[in-house]
Amino acid sequence: MAKIYKTGVLLAGLLTAGMSSAALAGGPVDEKLVIDDELEIITRTAAPEGHPLDEVISGWHYRTEETRALEADSFQNPGMLYVERGEEIWNTVEGDAGKSCASCHGDGEEFLKGIGANYPKWNADANKPFNLELQVDQCREENMQAKPYKFDAADQKALVTYIKHQSIGMPVEIDLSQGEMQEWWKKGEETYYTRTGQLNLACATCHEDYNGNYIRADHLSQGNVNGFPTYRLKQSAMVSLHNRFRGCIRDTRAEFPAAFSDELMALEVYVTWRGTGLSVETPAVRQ
């Protein structure tokens, strides 16, 4: 359906004076993302088995030329400041145990390679999947005797951005064979297809059925999460995945679940799986 309309819309656009051509571009762009002319990023790949779409495509393809260029140049990418700040935090002692992350894990660039690409991950002690934020908080409480971060604290975003960035270019792959990951995946899938709010929209309504189309000035992507935390120009800040989940749900005029609630953790497991094989892009740059 969407594809058929697009041609019509394009024609209407050409015939309509005063219409913005930007709003009528449509579809993912046919370009390659190479960061600093050396790091090739997998932004399109065959979907994993059982995926409703044939190909998974990074949100990078749905952004404007200017936004795409920002991500391709790490000196221009505003998210890189958070990576730098995150590295400082990694090496800073905090809490009653007198430790930093580095006290136990050593050099971040070595230790963290590949870790962010495989989260969320089953945590047997907590009996639930952990994302990087929950993992960091557990470490802070148990090993550093420091307080857990408040949701979306500047340092939480910077540290998670730094951790995830150490996997940049590596394909996202989560292990669904551990613990009860399958059940959480299933629960997340259910949430993905459940319509919420007065506007009666599910994640799938926009990101599965209409990706590549515009809702007003917003070019709908597949909603893959391989670039989170992501630098959003609209907010001029790093935006965490659970912040974006909540924003999207709020936009359907629904109450949104708490960050890191079971519901949103299940959704993170499911949506991360949907982007299997895409490179980690953190810090991605989006609209």
Binding site: Y5, A12, G18, M19, R195, T196, G197, Q198, A202
Partner: protein, 153 residues
Amino acid sequence: MTKGLKIIFAAASFALAGSAFAETLAPDDVEIVDMEVTASLTGKPGDATIGRETFADRKKGNCLACHVNADLSDQLFHGEVGPPLDGVGDRWTAQELRAIVIDSKEVFGEQTIMPGFYTMNVGINVAEKHKGQTILSAQDVEDVVAYLTTLSE
């Protein structure tokens, strides 16, 4: 019938409608039959000029979020997830347009992305401030329908 008579007749039938359906129909009492809602929800005709504003208002219809409409080409960024509405008044009757605006799922099926603007058949966990409310009021619906019927090619 002469033009003058027609106007008198029209005025008389509006007055009649006004007295017969003085009460606004609640969302749950609206019946969509054969993709149509035959009578005005308020018993009053819609105002196309107000409807044009309601259509464009991001806090009300926000119809441009999903539809291209050349009549509002002075506004930037028309969405494309729904069909263009140029000439929509030629393709659908007022009764059909009313049904679509009220609850498009009753016309196009459950899978449509289009929200129902005057229905309680909505998603789960509706935000507190929107609970029990419809997106548009009954008169808003009538105004938008009146506006849509003017979109002719």
